[in-house]
Symmetry: C2
């Protein structure tokens, strides 16, 4: 197996390396037997075409505008958005004016997030939505928008209108790679997959294009993920499956703990395979497992590709209730001290204790257990005095596992996170200027 | 005036530069007219002696154990501790077994935090407390403990007992500088002051020794602050004044948003001046103003001296209620993206909008106003399109001011924070190994 972490050790500032091969590479993703990786060049499922073009949003002249169109009669879809008080215009417009259960078109751009742009940003977004609808023969409410790039600048609408016409002429079932290029900026890894899923009712395809390097990173400004399948299902099923799988993937990762203004995930179903997924059926479970593996691996690639990331970790928290384990896991994953130690391969687990203690100011000291890849370093709040040399080897791995056990039982959670490196600082210290 | 920020630009990894001169230097501290800086070599107020020695806790052989003793008959004191679920043994022992309103002795060490050390850590702490009590002729309950250093290792108790005897022999009214040396590790600035305060009832002195580079930084592991005065007051007055002033100073700063296991602040009053501060008197207000200015300036020096810090900022949040402005201000101050932009002198205010939005996931978009040093960059959530060149100059200053105005009125707060630099990563990536 290739090593997804080592190959991206140079971090987000490197040129795109293409999609990782094979797609499934993390020890934290269980790949179901009924799922097969078709390779990145397989193209989209039946009923989908995509394109990506350069229209001059990015000063570099790189691709910056992408379209996906579903050609079936009655497309079915579902979407999820960032829960932020500062939503970008494309997110707001999509949430308020789109028919999210019957989306036909994705219009996405990089190079400008169209966030913190107020009324003018909404008008700009509406113009591009209308133009995309006309260009592909759809209704505006069928066109979902996604934008990514710096926050606080306005869209170059005229250039985008030209780009939309251009992209509409280039739509192709093998256009997923071009689309991906157009939505990413400096992602080092192409986070993209084409899978085959064997269900009892027949074989379907499942593809996804994803960009981003964490919850937020204004260098790319946000996470966008577009998922397509030729399976047939009711919109309630699509919504349920997307909701559950997003919670177990994109909701569980953090590069810098920063929530985006633009995060959007969209599942679109053409139904053209004729393979129908009934609610609460075995096939629903099988398709859900495939979607789960797909999104978890994509989420982990986002962390692997986190700005400047050289090493990633999973914190697994166990304890008395969901709120407590969530606070503990997030505190560890977002601690710059834990992340810097991870970067240095330093088994400084005291920072895990400190981070959990800071997040849970209990009256009595917490009787915490901490394990690094199965080796117990802290028992009921006290050091087990394992020599640091013994631990250093565990931290040298590309995927490090921390278990934090709080007193009490009944709840557990996990968060995937990246380290804090010099490159993160370099990337983020002078981005807009 | 000297520039405290510029002089510490090289950050926490530099050798100590001595105390900044003059002490009061930040634009965010109002220095009352009745307060005079006596200079760092003035020594402690009447009734106090201190010492600092090297006893071998630190492998470097640098000073690592300090004592302060109050020689009056009935000392009065107050203390505040970190609110953490993972309190260090010295914090726990002090909180549970000390007579916090009548402390006579401070025993503090650097080089080991005695945190995450369980029962053995408590026994070790108790041994050193008992030894200090015997060495200076006090009761154990009169000895408050403070430790700072890496989390998860045990105190070298035998060496410390020798150090305590040695320090007790060297106690001196001019020992505050040696004490300070013994509690700091790689603080670049000596955070220390000797002030004179003119009250209606007479003149008193007020001194402090402080160490740390933020809420937590296991390189120094914690903030410790010891304050002495020869003013006379009831313990309730001492407690009230310390509580209010800590809330306006140490509680309002962040280097990395990480709460320590060991934070401790102690005010001790010898009363030897004979100048009595009555509750709710004008002199209580005047003394409170002096203590406030002292602790705010010390807190700002902690941020200036934040690990790797080159530039600091204040975020001033205004809005409808205390919880909302607190969430907004903390989100900005703890955002690695905002901090990295501050480091780069990059006016990327979109990250402020993103951070506030992430912290306040409201149903409707927040109509945020954002100002950088008086220049409005965001109005009701939308960019004012001020050219970036105009803003860059504002970010080049050593102390940058951000105002975040949320809809609604009635509450405001502030947080002081440092930037995120390469040096922070270097310092924290390989600390223990």
């Amino acid at each position: 197996m290739s090593d997804p972490v080592a190959t991206s050790a140079a971090g987000g500032a490197q040129p795109t390396q293409g999609p990782p091969r094979p797609f499934f590479a993390s020890r934290w993703v269980m790949v179901p037997e009924h799922v097969r990786d078709l390779g990145p060049d397989h193209g989209l499922p039946a009923g989908f075409r995509a394109a990506g073009v350069a229209c001059g949003i990015k000063p570099s002249g790189n691709p910056d505008l992408g379209l996906i169109v579903c050609d079936c009669e009655k497309p079915v879809s579902a979407a999820r958005f960032a829960a932020t008080g500062a939503p970008a215009a494309p997110l707001l417009l999509s949430r308020e004016r789109c028919e999210l259960s019957a989306l036909r078109v994705v219009l996405a751009n990089s190079g400008c997030a169209n966030a913190a742009t107020g009324k003018r940003g909404m008008e700009d977004a509406a113009k591009t939505q209308g133009a995309a609808a006309i260009a592909v023969g759809a209704e505006p409410r069928e066109v979902i928008l996604g934008s990514t790039g710096p926050i606080g600048s306005y869209l170059p609408v005229e250039r985008m209108l030209g780009g939309i016409r251009n992209a509409a002429e280039r739509l192709d079932q093998a256009g997923d790679s071009c689309f991906q290029q157009a939505i990413q900026t400096t992602d080092a890894l192409e986070k993209r997959a084409c899978l085959q899923v064997e269900l009892d009712a027949g074989v379907v395809e499942l593809t996804a294009q994803c960009k981003g390097a964490g919850m937020i990173s204004p260098r790319f400004a946000t996470m966008l993920c577009y998922i397509q399948t030729d399976a047939q299902m009711a919109s309630e099923t699509a919504d349920l499956l997307l909701g559950v799988c997003v919670k177990r993937s994109f909701d569980r990762c953090s590069v810098d703990g920063q929530l985006s203004t633009n995060d959007t995930a969209v599942l679109m179903c053409s139904g053209i395979s004729g393979v129908k997924i009934e609610p609460e059926s075995e096939d629903e479970r099988l398709f859900g497992e495939a979607l789960d593996a797909l999104l978890r691996q994509l989420a982990i690639y986002m962390v692997v590709d986190g700005e400047g990331a050289g090493r990633i970790a999973r914190v697994h928290a166990q304890g008395p209730d969901p709120d407590t384990v969530e606070l503990a896991a997030r505190a560890v994953a977002n601690s710059p001290l834990v992340k810097a130690a991870l970067h240095g391969g330093d088994p400084n687990w005291g920072r895990i204790v400190q981070a959990v203690g800071g997040a849970l100011p209990t009256a009595e000291p917490l009787a915490l257990d901490v394990f690094i890849d199965g080796v117990q370093v802290c028992s009921a709040g006290a050091s087990t005095d394992v020599p640091r040399q013994e631990l250093a080897g565990l931290l040298a791995r590309p995927e490090v596992e921390f278990l934090v056990r709080l007193p009490g039982e009944g709840a557990e959670t996990e968060v995937f996170f990246s380290d804090l490196s010099h490159e993160y600082v370099s990337i983020n210290a002078d981005y807009t200027t």
